[in-house]
Symmetry: C2
């Protein structure tokens, strides 16, 4: 099959063609160097048509009911005529190869909804790689007319920071437990959350989720105020009864209004652009250094010398940098 040219792909994406969108995302995900230039052309062509969506990050530990929530929440939005794209950042898929999150059948109804687009994480990638590709995929989805972008991740590590740095609003899903509601969740993730939504608030579980809501609201009180001027909200919902789902949308719209009015919304997006520019450069500089075969040889010896207290880490670093400089000139 002849692949469409970059210009053709751009035109199709802007026209809302999801087949072209999927093709372009595959192009972005490709590690074949011959595809890089075309991928960049497509992204740059889509950029002027992007940036008008709301980007929502959603996290929570396995078992919290992320896919059920996203399915019900996504359907709630598409019923109103909104167009929802669901992307995932799941670096664990690089290890397991069978992605936990990348299973379309998890969100069966949403996947079949003409107003929704569900795309799993690129697999076999480092977090840095997945993050870059996801961020570029956001641009393409926005150009294709999706006005709500949901980025899903698992609540277990560095991936939250990556997601946080590419979304406008960060939502933490939480289940009710045995008292220690914050146990097992990294402080940093709580600190990033603009809202905490307690799931499975139905039937006999309602008194417990209501109590958790009170406890979490109290715990959030200990956290410093946010740069956005936004006070994080705690709420409950049920994916089964759909109780509380419209409230989550209201919280997000309220956040967007507040931060657009105080200028934080656009400032944050500008900061995120700067962040990704700088991060990409820093990553590449490190990779070039530490992957250099001759540096790797010297580094091994040097680390041994440092551990044996024969030289200080700083003197060792100077020596390695000197070696690197001489290798390159």
């Amino acid at each position: 099959m002849v692949q469409p040219e970059a210009e053709e792909l751009i035109a199709q994406i802007i026209a809302g063609d999801t087949t072209a969108l999927s093709r372009a995302i595959t192009l972005i995900e490709s590690n074949n160097p011959n595809h890089f230039a075309k991928a960049n052309t497509v992204i740059n062509g889509c950029l002027p048509h992007a940036n008008s969506s709301i980007r929502i990050g959603i996290t929570g530990v396995p078992g919290v009911g992320k896919s059920s929530f996203i399915e019900v929440f996504g359907k709630h939005l598409t019923h109103q005529g909104k167009k929802v794209a669901v992307l995932t950042i799941d670096p664990s898929s690089a290890v397991s190869h069978g992605s936990i999150l990348g299973d379309k059948t998890r969100m069966e109804k949403l996947s079949k909804d003409p107003n929704a687009y569900v795309r799993p994480s690129a697999s076999g990638e480092t977090l840095g790689g997945v993050a870059r590709k996801t961020r570029e995929t956001i641009t393409l989805c926005e150009a294709a007319g999706f006005d709500t972008i949901i980025i899903e991740t698992v609540g277990v590590g560095q991936s939250e920071i990556a997601v946080h740095s590419m979304v406008d609003f960060f939502l933490l899903l939480q289940i009710t437990g045995a008292g220690d509601e914050l146990q097992g969740i990294k402080r940093g993730i709580i600190e990033m959350a603009d809202a905490i939504v307690i799931t499975k608030s139905d039937g006999d579980n309602i008194p417990k989720t209501t109590l958790t809501k009170t406890e979490l609201s109290r715990a959030l009180h200990y956290f410093p105020p946010k740069k956005s001027g936004w006070i994080p909200t705690v709420t409950t919902c049920s994916s089964k009864t759909q109780e509380g789902i419209p409230e989550v949308e209201k919280i997000i719209l309220n956040y967007v209004e507040t931060t657009k009015n105080n200028g934080y919304f656009n400032r944050k997006r500008a900061e995120q652009n700067d962040y990704w520019l700088t991060e990409t450069i820093n990553d590449q500089l490190k990779q070039d250094f530490f992957n250099h075969p001759q540096i790797q040889n010297v580094l091994k010896e040097t680390k041994k010398a440092v551990q044996n207290n024969e030289t200080s880490p700083f003197a060792a670093a100077q020596l390695l940098l000197e070696t690197y400089k001489n290798l390159r000139t």
Copy 2:
């Protein structure tokens, strides 16, 4: 005055001569490139005699009574024949030039104690610069026979991370307040603490500090377990009555015993060496890139293009890295 040679300095430091120690620290602090080689020789000569102390980081917001605590705690240690060095990391001194922490007269008794050595932070430095110099100063102090190294910092930012990455034990001083005890303190700092000591626990204040102790202990319960296997302790003390001061020492000794037994103590020191080696290299690579005059010119234009959605942060980064490569070959 003729400056002693590196070998002479090393011999004097190892003999416990604090005048030689001060001279060597001044050498480390010097930004004169002619001093770098000699400084490295002195550090490397001291390394085999270092590493046998306990390194304690102490932080807390201004007003918590850090200097009073360190004075009383330090005297408690020197009374037992221990040798205590107090260093500070105060990047604010780079701005104010009058260092908040670097004032010897703050710890008058300890400064005059023959078993103590008080040395303020190098001034006019970036945090990275102060951190490197402090870490090298630790080596010299240890070689000079100081068995307890206290690194003091203000509880207001990045400097805690630097201190945490060079000490064995991290102590957070805290005052009792109006309910929200954790307000205003960054989560990350609490997470680093191996002990929280509530100061000014004397007279009418005792009921309040006792209550704070209970509340903080409960709050710590929400934090994930530490890699060290150590459960952070909350205690109270008074620098005025000296009540609770011996308990702080006991907590630290208990920590050292626990982590030496489970292997964490030495593992952490090895990790810290690796951290400083890698950090120094990464810092230098970034500095070389971002301080390059031609890169600075291109970067300005590129950032503008990214903010105007003419190019993506990733495409822009690739372009800058390409430019850098061509500049160097």
